[in-house]
Symmetry: C2
Subunit: 145 residues, 2 copies
């Protein structure tokens, strides 16, 4: 039994099926150190099973996202990145000037999430945000022009 058995149960219980393709996509996501794009995952899975289709990857990612096993984040530069949610929660501050990326602790967003839940009744999926703006350095530089 692999280390994905728990995940498999979660999928089964919600009426989904476990297929070899899904298993490979899951493994790819779980064992990745950080963010993966759909294309990254596609490449990895293709190495083991060359007949997978990119649409299968996207459809599986959609399912996993719906079940909140993974998070999807649009970090500017084109393609979205996906990450296993169970890993440490964190967010990104992306500078629109120098494109630098800084980490933002989850506590900042956690407060926002619980406030919204308390006051509006909406349960926000605050797993992985990308917030755009100007970093401290570029702010200084821009101000002195």
């Amino acid at each position: 039994m692999s280390c994905e058995s728990e995940t498999i149960d979660v999928l089964r219980e919600s009426g989904h099926k476990m297929t070899p393709q899904r298993m490979m996509i899951l493994t790819s996501l779980r064992h990745a150190s950080g963010h993966l794009s759909a294309a990254d995952i596609f490449e990895q899975v293709k190495a083991a099973y060359p007949y997978v289709d990119i649409s299968t990857v996207y459809r599986t990612l959609t399912v996993l996202k719906e079940m909140r096993l993974i998070s999807e984040t649009h970090m500017g530069g084109g393609d979205a990145t996906f990450e296993w949610v169970a890993s440490e929660r964190h967010h990104h501050l992306i500078c629109r000037h120098c494109n630098g990326v800084t980490l933002l602790d989850h506590t900042y967003l956690e407060k926002l999430g619980s406030q919204i839940e308390r006051e509006v009744g909406f349960h926000a999926d605050i797993d992985h945000f990308a917030i755009f703006g100007l970093c401290a350095d570029c702010k200084r530089e821009t101000a002195s022009n």
Copy 2:
């Protein structure tokens, strides 16, 4: 002189040029009541000048976005929507179950923005967020299964 003259100056000062196409795209955005997709804008501009190309619309939107005159928001269902930033700031709570959209007052995000600026020094562009999650109704429904 039209009511866009101020915007024109902002563009010029940052090394951009004002063209008839851009003017029409600007007008379309400024006079829209709410969110517009790139295709909406394309249609509107084409009514006045049938030779515009959709790529011109996208390129202009990219420029306006960089200058923070408009905001781009991905609200699930496929295409991105654009909105004139000067209009009332607001955000969206989008239910991943029923796809319903609720408005979220800007004050919630404003606090987050100023806190990040104060503590991390990063100036977040919190213009128009789309936050996904479960609305109160769907939360209740899901819990009772």
